[in-house]
């Protein structure tokens, strides 16, 4: 106790100055409020599902993201730094940066309409996208979100996490989530491909958030497929982003009520 009092005394000057400097930037960021426990968590969208969108049209663009070449061997994650993390996994945990599906497609690819929607504004959905920390891993690993749509971040682990998101176009934030069940809500105020979020407590944890101005995006999952529905007829440029393999773009025309197919391919 004596040492604690001494330690606290050292920081008194710093506390006063910090208070004098005003509110913390992350508090000033677009925060919808923090909560602990309480309502049940909205489950994360399936990674390969398209985000819910106002039906601006009746066209669909769908396709798959293929992987060419030999699938690289997945790197195992060492969770020795936190016994709570290690306890949650019976099997070895592998990195999620390159996940090649058995059908030769690639997971965790963010596909979105890069151009073709200029001049149209889209109201962000009130429903939050969700990012969960479970087993000391982010779920999903790659997520899409609309500008100003709430992002609900949850700690489902019996250990503490910090959520350090570093957007270039919105205000960065670094949240403390020391308690299991804790939820925080944040928003990104400008489009950005991609925002990286990390946990500095557990250096293997990383998630990527694609922030776009419209609802036409998707993330490939276990089947490597994506589907962008409710599009107006028109000419579009699609971009596929992968954290290791970079970006690929393709142009496509889709007529009213039609379904167009676009496939991407990344090589290892």
């Amino acid at each position: 106790m004596r040492y604690e009092r001494q330690h606290a005394w050292i920081f008194v000057a710093g506390v006063l100055v910090a208070i004098g400097c005003g509110s913390r930037p992350q508090d000033a960021a677009a925060t919808s409020g923090d909560a602990q426990g309480g309502e049940p968590i909205q489950l994360a969208q399936a990674a390969d599902e398209v985000a819910s969108a106002p039906a601006a049209g009746s066209s669909t663009i769908q396709g798959t993201v293929k992987f060419a070449g030999a699938a690289p061997s997945a790197e195992r994650i060492k969770m020795d730094a936190d016994p709570q993390c290690k306890l949650q996994h019976q099997e070895p945990v592998e990195k999620q940066d390159v996940v090649v599906n058995p059908n030769g497609t690639l997971q965790h690819v963010f596909v979105y309409v890069k151009s073709g929607l200029e001049g149209t504004t889209f109201t962000p959905p009130a429903q939050a996208a969700t990012l969960d920390q479970h087993g000391c891993m982010y779920s999903p690993h790659v997520i899409g979100i609309q500008v100003n749509q709430p992002l609900e971040i949850t700690n489902s682990d019996a250990t503490l996490h910090n959520v350090n998101c570093k957007p270039a176009n919105s205000k960065p934030f670094n949240l403390a989530q020391p308690v299991k069940g804790m939820k925080s809500k944040k928003q990104f105020t400008a489009p950005e491909i991609m925002v990286k979020c990390v946990c500095n407590v557990h250096p293997w944890m990383a998630a990527y958030v694609g922030v776009v101005a419209h609802p036409y995006y998707g993330v490939t999952g276990a089947d490597g497929a994506f589907s962008l529905t409710g599009l107006p007829a028109g000419d579009y440029t699609l971009e596929a982003w992968h954290e290791k393999f970079g970006v690929k773009t393709k142009t496509v025309h889709v007529g009213d009520g039609e379904t167009a197919s676009v496939d991407f391919e990344f090589a290892g």
């Binding site: 330690h7 050292i10 000057a13 910090a18 913390r24 730094a81 936190d82 910090n162 946990c199 407590v201």
Partner: protein, 273 residues
């Protein structure tokens, strides 16, 4: 314990603090504790993952703060030399500034200018404490002249200190932004030249006390080690946290060495004249 011994101990603990701070940056653990001055709202959070580095750094920083405050008060109350009192008081002011910069680094999510300032002020604190230890030592009171070489050693010491300060700034910019790597590498040549010239002038001073000759040899080896570590860190992309941290720590020792040599040479020049 004498004030000199206490000052020496403070210097050693501060060097450990610099190493702990270097490890925080090298392991990218600076934001593993998002709040400040408490850590996750408590004094002692679970020491897991990156928190081990960040919170250990905070605990050692608290200890150094207490030690520097004690040293400053002790000096202020007992040392008859006004300038020494101000030197110790300045070290305390620098430590307080450093604590505030450290807090702002966390609260403002690692803004590069604040993080760079935090890295630089930390090294300045270490150098100023090394000088406090020097001027409170028995050897300071019993100092004798170094002959005609003293003014030249003082001048070269100050030159080396100035170029090391620039190098320190460039190094801090690299660590917090990844920029100016080539500038840091090129400036290293200037640093080595200045330090070699300083070592030469020390070696060629016939009246230099034996203890300083040993330190000169140590300085020369430190320069070699620092250059080797720097090149290794550069070529390997700073993948080993302990090696990058070692480069930071050795840089701090070199800066403090030039500071101490310049101060001692100034004293020798005064006594000798």
């Amino acid at each position: 314990m004498s004030r000199y011994r206490f000052a020496q101990l403070t210097v050693v603990i501060t060097l450990i603090l610099l190493a702990a701070g270097g490890l925080v940056t090298s392991t990218d653990s600076g934001l593993s504790v998002p709040d400040w001055p408490l850590s996750y709202g408590t004094m002692f959070p679970p020491m897991v993952g990156g928190i081990r580095y960040e919170h250990t750094h905070r605990l050692i920083a608290g200890l150094v703060g207490l030690m520097v405050a004690t040293l400053a008060i002790w000096t202020w109350r007992t040392d008859p030399r006004r300038w020494v009192r101000w030197l110790a008081g300045g070290a305390l002011a620098a430590v307080i500034t450093q604590a505030i910069l450290g807090g702002l680094t966390v609260l403002w999510v690692l803004p590069a200018p604040v993080s760079i300032a935090h890295a630089c002020v930390g090294q300045l604190v270490f150098s100023s404490l090394a000088c406090v230890a020097l001027v409170t030592s028995p050897a300071w009171a019993q100092a004798r002249g170094w002959g005609a070489a003293a003014p030249r050693i003082r001048r070269r010491g100050l030159q080396a200190m100035a170029v090391l300060l620039v190098q320190l700034l460039l190094g801090a910019i690299i660590r917090h932004t990844g920029r100016f790597v080539m500038w840091h590498a090129a400036w290293a040549v200037v640093v080595v030249v200045c330090l070699v010239r300083l070592a030469q002038s020390l070696r060629q001073a016939p009246e230099l006390p034996a203890a300083w000759r040993t330190r000169t040899l140590l300085l020369a080896w430190l320069v070699v080690a620092q250059a080797a570590i720097g090149i290794t860190v550069w070529r390997t992309g700073a993948q080993w946290a302990w090696m990058s941290t070692g480069h930071v720590v050795l840089g701090a020792v070199l800066l403090a060495s030039t500071c101490v040599i310049s101060t001692a040479a100034h004293r020798a020049a005064q006594v000798g004249s």
